[in-house]
């Protein structure tokens, strides 16, 4: 504790905590209730697609969403540019 401590701006760590929590909780809620096989399915799809197209690890997204009464398995693959010719 120095005499001039009060001159330094205080770090508001609670604010940082809240922002981090808002983001991680929102992210985890989207995965809530999803079947346990989704991560495995995502890995296998990625491996399969890689056989044909060179894609990044995060280019395959597998999500379970709700559409009214039924569940929708939402698989999206983003291809890199110039990937069509092979």
């Amino acid at each position: 504790m120095s005499l001039f401590d009060f001159l330094r701006p205080k770090k508001n760590t609670a604010h940082i905590a809240k922002e981090r929590l808002r983001i991680i909780v929102a992210q985890e809620r989207t995965h809530r209730g999803a079947p346990d096989y989704l991560p495995e399915l995502q890995r296998e799809l990625l491996a399969l697609i890689k056989k044909y197209v060179h894609v990044d690890v995060d280019s395959v997204k597998v999500e379970m969403t709700k559409d009214g009464d039924h569940d929708v398995l939402d698989i999206s693959v983003s291809l890199p540019e110039h990937s069509v010719s092979r």
Partner: protein
């Protein structure tokens, strides 16, 4: 109709057992017939917090496995006649609890005329925690204003919304937030999540805020739930939470920094 309340949190060490004991005492002091059950098989502690550890003869698992009657296993509190404790087993494996067994005990307690059954959940999301919440009508989610506790509580909220009898029947477990170890001073300094912050993140309404207090450790040292200490601010905060559980309106206390007057600063008080 007996009301089943689960006290849960996900994370360990946030005050589930302290809260179960104090809510049970508070409700019993209000004239309700209360049974409080320890679901932490293998690591029982509710008996210590309630101060009846030397009076445990039979436990929850003995009752489920038919080795003792519910009457034999229920421990009547020495301070409040209408309060009973059912201890967890200390030795058996976790699979000793079955859904059917738990349901039968809860039904028998309800048939016996208990008004409230408090289920003290173990930490984690394993079998004991699942069974503690499965039959609940209401859930008190105990949270420390700290990132890991808040995140784990959100996991628990997900389970309450999907893995409970009410969820399976298409209704909801009524959920409440109970904040423990709250320090208004640190909140004001921007060092601790505020009540509003935690409510925002979790989307829950608050049933109680228990201030950080040395009384809580003193109470567990003695085996006297802190709600029985009328001098203690933490005890008073639990009594307020009990009143809110019973549907009464109470303003939140001990949630702002108390400004001491010039004189009390000098003369103490």
């Amino acid at each position: 109709m007996a009301e089943i309340i689960v006290v849960t949190s996900g994370k360990g060490g946030v005050g589930k057992t302290t809260t179960s004991a104090s809510l049970a005492c508070g409700l019993a002091r209000r004239g309700k017939r209360v049974a409080v059950i320890d679901f932490d098989v293998g690591l029982r502690n509710l008996d210590l917090i309630m101060g009846c550890e030397r009076r445990v003869v039979f436990d929850f698992v003995n009752v489920i496995q038919g080795e003792a009657s519910l009457k034999q296993a229920l421990i009547r509190d020495k301070r409040i006649d209408s309060l009973h404790i059912l201890a967890a087993s200390q030795t058996r494996d976790k699979d000793a609890l079955t859904k059917e067994g738990v349901e039968k005990v809860l039904n028998d307690l309800a048939a016996d005329g208990f008004d409230h059954i408090i289920c003290d959940s173990p930490a984690g999301i394993e079998r004991g925690a699942h069974l503690a919440m499965y039959f609940a009508d209401r859930a008190v989610v105990v949270v420390n204003p700290e990132v890991s506790s808040v995140r784990d509580s959100d996991r628990i909220l997900g389970l309450l919304a999907s893995k409970t009898r009410r969820a399976e029947q298409g209704t909801r477990v009524e959920e409440f937030l109970l904040l423990t170890r709250y320090s208004p001073k640190r909140v004001e300094a921007g060092e601790m999540l505020s009540i509003g912050d935690v409510e925002d993140v979790l989307g829950l309404k608050t049933i109680g805020v228990i201030p950080e207090s040395p009384d809580v450790l003193n109470a567990s040292n003695k085996g006297e739930p802190v709600a029985l200490d009328p001098e203690s601010l933490a005890g008073q905060a639990y009594i307020d939470a009990v009143a809110r559980l019973l549907g009464e309106e109470r303003p939140m206390r001990f949630t702002t920094v108390e400004r001491k007057s010039f004189f009390s600063k000098i003369f103490g008080g």
